[in-house]
Amino acid sequence: MTQTHRLRGGQIDRSQRLPFSFDGSSYVGHPGDTLASALLANGVRLMGRSFKYHRPRGVLTAGSEEPIALVELRTGGRQEPNTRATTAELFEGLVANSQSRWPSLKFDLMAINDYMSPFLSAGFYYKTFMWPAVFWEKLYEPIIRRAAGLGSLSMEEDADAYDKGFLHCDVLVVGAGPSGLAAALTAGRAGKRVILADEDYLMGGRLNAETFDIGSGSGSDWAASVVAELASMDNVRLMTRTTIIGSFDHGVMAALERVSDHLAAPLKDKPRQTLWRIYPDHTILSAGAIERPIAFPNNDRPGIMMAGAMRAYANRWAVTAGKSVAIFTNNDDGLRTVRDLQAKGVEIAAVIDTRDGGEVIGGTRHIQGGQVIDTKGRLGLHSIAVRTKDGDVKTIPCDALGVSGGWNPNVHLTCHQRGRPAWNETLATFVPDGLPTGMTVCGAARGDFSTHGALKGGMLAAKAIGAKAIELPHAEDAPVNITPFWYVQGKPRAWVDFQNDVTVKDIKLAHQENFRPVEHLKRYTTLGMATDQGKTSNMGGLAVMAEMTGKTIPETGTTIFRPPYTPVAIGALAGRSRGKEFRPYRLTPSHQWAEEQGAVFVEVGTWLRAQWYPIAGETHWRESVDREVLATRGSVGVCDVTTLGKIDVQGTDAAAFLNRIYANGFAKLPVGKVRYGLMLREDGIVMDDGTTARMSEHHYVMTTTTANAVSVFRHMEFARQCLWPDMDVQLISTTDAWAQYAVAGPNTRRLLEKIVDQDISNEAFPFMACSEITVCGGTRARLFRISFSGELAYEIAVPTRYGDAMIRAIMKAGEEFDVTPYGTEALGVMRIEKGHAAGNELNGTTTALELGLGKMVSKAKDSIGSKLSERDGLSHEDGFKLMGFKPVDPGEAFNAGSHFLKPGAPETIAHDEGYMTSVAYSPNLGHTVGLGFLKDGGNRIGEQLRAFSPVTDKDIMVEVVSPHMIDPEGERLRG
């Protein structure tokens, strides 16, 4: 197919031909084209089907306000639904498909909805599909969603990457039309740091769509010269293809830069789009205006579009929307389209002006005081019916109709902080009012519709923030001449919102059913919803409602707008935070060594910890874990415990401070000793536990659980800074500064004696001792005689830079003892066997009493949470107690999360006796072991209960045992 509708001139590069396809048909366009302009050039008017009635639709606008020419662009992982054909830049090989149709665009079976329209009025499904209620979710909604819907997803992973970023400037100029260019030029020449952003790929705004001159040349040439001057300034950043999508607190603005959308695929390592957060001192909003339609019967046929868009297609893209064009207007601006099309040699079928009087354009059939009362043409306009002021009805053949109902300032960004635009009677439109911090508005966005007004407004906006005035070129200064006219009375449906298929009739129904406030009107009819957010429809809907209620438009109200200004891909909001890069990872000092051993890693918070270390021949994780547990309890094992939080506590009041933080006493802990500490929240619930070592008189090293390292530090900083600022105590995290390894098992001391330079015998270094030591002939280290596994154990810490060397030294020294590295699974097995609580038990609902640690909450002093832990509900002796559990039949295994029931009791909450928190297979005992909370557990040892899981229906008989299932007297760890 040839470009049958291409005109002369325009800002396209005819030297290059860009083949593309739409709905499987091949076409050719040129660089500079959008998909919409290229389709129009090829004589394609039918571009989609409407949302609800599946009416054939063309293109309405030439910009980002487009409500109906929405396509699925690209294929596979790059397919994007609801892409506006008006903003999609043409590139070689572009593939687009229409949406909301089946089986084809020209023959859409869902168009039956159009014939059923009397039954499908606003709110129809809420009224119709009420019964039976359960059918809504299972039947009605899926059917309705399939029938309606706006495009589809490929269900493939997005093939592209997205960036996020931060920009700073003195002044952000939003929109590079005449006012924006004047503002940027004024500010730029004054040395201000300027960002000029425009959603278009070509700066100049309407100057590229109009024919009038600025100074001695064309408007587009002036725009190009200003852009060239701005580009030469180091203090100015020009951002094309960049939409300012939102205005946020403190004047922060969000921008979406479409870095690669004009290419078939992004260049290597480059993002598709970048979401910028811009911090400007000032924002000058020069976002222009959006032309509004007039509602008239059957005003939605392909070929009917905004008169200003028609002019833009002709002047900028050298495309005519039709061979014989009619114009329907209520203002002088609509007449500009007539003149421009005439100048391009396009046949003008008629000019229908709702106003009676004013200029008559020569060489045309100019009908003043007329109205378009109907249209014909199933897949594209072929005639209109016009009623003259005398009441005669004439049929006028034409294949395109340009409509102008006036222009609405683009006030969106002024509303994002709940600014409410004010009605301007002269301009018959809303203008900005109540601006966000640091924002000024100029040009058409504030109602200055002439080019001169735009240039002057832009310059003055920059001057107001300290720039020196510049000399402006001469430009047209035509006044706005409009007689408001919103809709044509008539029986056939007249569309107000093209995207959501909302008609004048729907608004009448909303009025009739008393959904009259604009916010109700919007929600009842869906006016202004979905991807275009009512850019072309809100004003019309409001005006129709005003007329029905007999109120003025400002009395009726106005809707305001929310971010984003145009749709944003979810990928852009996510940026790089997706998949494996969703969040950063923390690696332990032994990570590389563990990788060399083939360790399997698990995420623990942001840490990656070795979960187990499989060796040759092991095919199941349990084999590895059982081996690691048996080897540790049989000889010696080593585990990287660097991830536990370490907090350095210093100061002359450090002891007193810890005494208040911990529920148990710390003031009398001798230097060189470690103590297990229990920390309560303000409300008496256990917050965290760990060991704290007194390294010197005023220096402690606290450890926390891995998961709570940050929250405990924050809690302590709050206490230090806010609760007790008069205490001399200083805190800093040293989690990353020390590589720490737990070495456990009966041969631990023999192993460590080969590494540690000092005497670590039981006499010299008893259970719960700590000391600064040296290892391997002089490297500074710390040694703690503590045990989580219940074995003879030490934790040895070296400055992290020696961490890799330390694990290798331990493994080498331990060769003669068959030292075995163990991961978090084996760690878990051993602590469950020993009855030590961990995160599963410190779950934010449990008390010290329940954990069997009630006596640790000292009554001899005050500490955070101690008083509230005495509350009635938290201090029942017959309440939950942490107990051990084993299966009655050793061959059976139970699961964590099971609830305890007495044999024969119903499986209800009322008969719940408690729940299992941790479960592991104990290779030492030869059966599954569990820890859990059981009512009055301390008095129920030996009792048999059901461990029942209502999730899996697993029902196992268990026996209550002591939680200390291995070495209950603690002889091993003191040995």
């Binding site: 960036d163 480059k270 005023h698 200083q730 002089g778 830079r801 961490g803």
Partner: protein, 185 residues
């Protein structure tokens, strides 16, 4: 046993990245310790630091450097002190002995990883990493910020070089984020 050897944050060798417009180099040559003024002892601390280093303790977001020592602000009445590791691996003990009861000193050498970044793409790269306005940040600033969820200090030097310090365990993810941003420019 053999003596233990030092290792950088990410494996056996320091991590580096280089392209036409940027170079990122892990710098493992620093000894680092934190100092925090004891209650009511700031004046004594100032004097002691001045005596040792010739430097005044800097204000928030600022850095001072002279001779072997560099000091930057990290929090209320808290600073990091750095010096070359080959001559000051014992930085904590040195500071402790000089500062006495005026400050709490904590060793941080292995706790942080430093990457030095320079090149023409520096500003564009950092626009994609953090909210610091490098174009208007003079040299000798040390600004606490967040890069891809990672807490970090961004330090500006004379000549336009920038250093980024993050907790050592995050070094891999930080290095990845920086190289991705460098390639993205």
């Amino acid at each position: 046993m053999d003596k233990l050897t030092l290792s950088p944050a990410l494996g056996a060798a320091a991590h580096n990245y280089q392209d036409d417009g940027i170079s990122i180099a892990e710098n493992p040559s620093l000894a680092l310790a934190s100092i925090a003024a004891r209650l009511g002892q700031k004046k004594q601390l100032l004097g002691a630091v001045k005596k040792l280093t010739g430097l005044n303790l800097p204000d928030p977001q600022r850095l001072v450097a002279a001779g072997d020592y560099t000091i930057f602000w990290t929090g209320p009445e808290q600073w990091f002190v750095t010096a070359p590791i080959n001559t000051h691996e014992d930085i904590e003990m040195r500071l402790r002995s000089v500062l006495g009861a005026s400050a709490s000193v904590t060793e941080q050498t292995g706790g942080w990883t430093r990457f030095d970044v320079e090149g023409d793409k520096l500003a564009a790269m950092f626009e994609r990493l953090c909210m610091i306005d490098l174009a208007t940040t003079p040299p000798h600033h040390a600004i606490r910020t967040v890069i891809e969820h990672i807490g970090a200090f961004v330090i500006t030097w004379e000549g336009g070089t920038v250093s980024v310090l993050s907790p050592r365990s995050y070094a891999g993810s930080l290095f990845h984020a920086m190289t991705v941003a460098a390639k993205s420019v």
